[in-house]
Symmetry: C2
Subunit: 425 residues, 2 copies
């Protein structure tokens, strides 16, 4: 029975029952974490053969080049070939970075501020105002980058097919709008795959700002956990064909393919963009860890081999996502207090409570020992205007812990909903 | 016989002989590199056991923490302990970075521009002018960082005991002077160890700028190639005792201890500075490669063990430096056309020709197939006012190649000197 259909007596009875369960869960002193998209131990063990792929000096030579020494600022050619195949772009469009694509993204924005991008009239730090489009719910770390540089963030609603493109096309008429954050495949947190039409409209954007920065964070480019690999278009080609080759910077990494703590990242952009950026990065870096680049290439080999590995990750992740979705279907669906997406890739389940329940639900979760991503985190400035979106990250805990955690979550969500309904009676 | 004492006939005869030798060397089509402080293959092989120090999943757990996963933005506690012992500071004063300390330095300067430092009144990008002190000859990559941010670089003469402190103390009275580059032990390129008095005067600087940034690049902190390890004071303690705990950021790395292409770097600063910077870096990074941090700690163990390893590097490097110095002593010293330092650590021999010979010498070297650091590189804007400083980097080539390269260098230096003397006759 839906909560909203209950009369006061029924609500009170239900509240008493849920409250009792909540107290019982609290008494267990749980310490469970569904806060971040962290792979679990089983996934890390899965790829730990990588540790010994390079074991002797001669393993470190490729094409006559010794990866242990200085050089190759833009990355090993073999690493560029690997990532280019993954993303569908060209090797010469790839710059290989260190352990986090976030750093490559931040540094790109930072250089826009200190030096300007290829087509900037001046560095962004010399402008009165910089605005940035933030499809939301979105990735909190993206929004934090915008925030730390003092940008004005403009919320763009997310739809089933990606950002609301009518809103985007309208917004980019403002020359102060300098860019947009995108996670185009299995968007964080909703798991939406941008539709072909959305991607086409994005590639054809004609922003007023000549240095509009389309940040294409392809974090989950090969990260299916249900079903087969979903092919995805190369945004660099599409922007080039649409006459804006320098508008986009694409990012990806092996953080959720190999080790989050020791991965390799990539920035893909037009050859002109990379030439310009490499000139600036040459003042900042000698090269990222090339031993680790080669270790990754030898271990992952090529796209086909990487996709096989991702199937093995999926075998670990799939049951975790199903555990979450099953619990929500069983415990929450009949109550009419929340809706959620059913992603087939990525690292999150995005849930929308009825308005005004997210913060309270997560406060209760915390009391009961379950850490979740903070309410509001998926919106600019950490403020969810309807206080409803919750990002569930099921990847870290083992299934049995996860089941305990999601049980806590469902209980807290019910309690928050009942409290609200009772208060409004 | 000194060249300057030769008469025209003697000079012509000598020129003909040296020119003949030069042509003979050119005909060999050599391809030798003394341009950068790159370790040689023997040094890389020396440390390649490190590749397999972590080989199983359980090797990656330390104090219950799995280094393969996300977390620990500021670095592994064990890595902080290691670097703190090396530098003489406290573990909580250490931030562990990726493959290059240059990146940590650049990022510190970049954040001064975009956000300001702990005691900045405003971000440096909002200032009309930023000036920076550049003890010269110095490290070209330092000066390039200043240049890319549009700083006005002020040349401070280097002396036998470090930067000319009278000039430094005078310069910092200008509030636009925002910092200074220092390589305090085995300075790049001269190999000078700053004296205790110089270091004390630096720690006691009272710059007009409240956010004066003393960049203490301790790149060669344990890099003796002759004689025993030379103890060195902890600049963080000295600045704290002098009442300016937040003035200094110290940097070091394992680039020339383990692999230049896969090392670990450290930024050491006051706890307050690190707290402030970590707040900003948290928007940019998740953590640097922690598997590599642990790999380094397990391999290098502690300072005593690292110093033993450096003795083995010294056994490789010592003969190379001696080959350079012996050749200069034999071939150049009698001619009165150049002077040079005799370093006992670091990666360079710094040579001053008579005025106006550096560029020509290096042009000739290039013609004969020997690549050297560009003339002028050791001065701000790449301009050596007396066109005399040449940085010789003997570490990369094997000894026999090095002997060939230094023979070419001596020949080119002689030829340049003779050309100049003949032109002035």
């Amino acid at each position: 029975m839906e909560y909203k259909s209950m009369d006061a007596a029924q609500l009170k009875a239900e509240h008493a029952a849920v409250e009792q369960k909540f107290q019982a869960l609290k008494a267990k002193n749980l310490k469970l974490d569904m806060s971040r998209g962290k792979p679990g131990k089983e996934q890390l063990d899965l790829v730990s053969d990588m540790l010994t792929v390079l074991s002797k000096p001669e393993d470190c030579i490729i094409d006559g080049f010794d990866v242990r020494n200085y050089g190759e600022l833009t990355g090993l050619p073999c690493a560029k070939v690997f990532f280019a195949e993954l993303l569908g772009c060209k090797p010469e469009e790839c710059f290989i970075g260190g352990n986090a694509s976030l750093t490559l993204m931040y540094d790109t924005v930072s250089k826009a501020y200190t030096h300007g991008l290829l087509h900037s009239e001046k560095p962004w730090c010399k402008l009165d105002k910089v605005k940035f489009l933030c499809p939301s719910p979105g990735y909190d770390r993206h929004f934090k980058v915008s925030e730390t540089f003092g940008m004005e963030m403009i919320t763009i609603p997310m739809t089933e097919t990606g950002p609301d493109m009518d809103a985007v096309e309208e917004a980019v008429k403002d020359p102060a709008v300098k860019g947009m954050w995108c996670v185009p495949k299995y968007s964080n947190p909703e798991g939406v795959i941008y539709s072909a039409e959305t991607i086409d409209r994005i590639a054809h954007l004609k922003p007023a700002a000549p240095d509009f920065l389309l940040i294409w964070d392809n974090a989950y480019c090969i990260h299916e956990f249900e079903g087969d690999y979903v092919p995805f278009p190369d945004i660099l080609s599409l922007c080039r064909e649409a006459g804006s080759p320098d508008m986009v910077f694409e990012f990806a990494s092996t953080s959720k393919v190999t080790f989050p703590g020791a991965g390799v990242s990539v920035m893909a952009a037009s050859v002109d963009n990379l030439k310009y950026m490499t000139g600036l990065i040459g003042m900042q870096a000698i090269s990222s860890d090339k031993v680790n680049q080669l270790r990754h290439v030898r271990y992952l080999k090529d796209k086909a081999h990487a996709l096989e590995l991702m199937k093995r990750h999926a075998a670990v992740l799939g049951p975790k996502f199903r555990a979450v979705l099953n619990a929500l279907d069983k415990e929450i669906a009949p109550l009419g207090i929340a809706t959620w997406k059913r992603p087939t890739g990525g690292y999150f389940v995005s849930l929308d409570t009825n308005d005004g329940l997210a913060k309270r639900t997560l406060t209760l979760c915390k009391e009961a020992g379950v850490v979740m991503t903070g309410a509001g985190a998926t919106f600019p400035y950490g403020k969810d205007p309807r206080d409803r979106n919750i990002r569930i990250a099921p990847s870290l805990p083992p299934v049995e812990e996860l089941e305990a955690a999601i049980d806590v979550f469902c209980t807290c969500l019910k309690l928050a909903a009942l409290e609200q309904l009772l208060a409004n009676k």
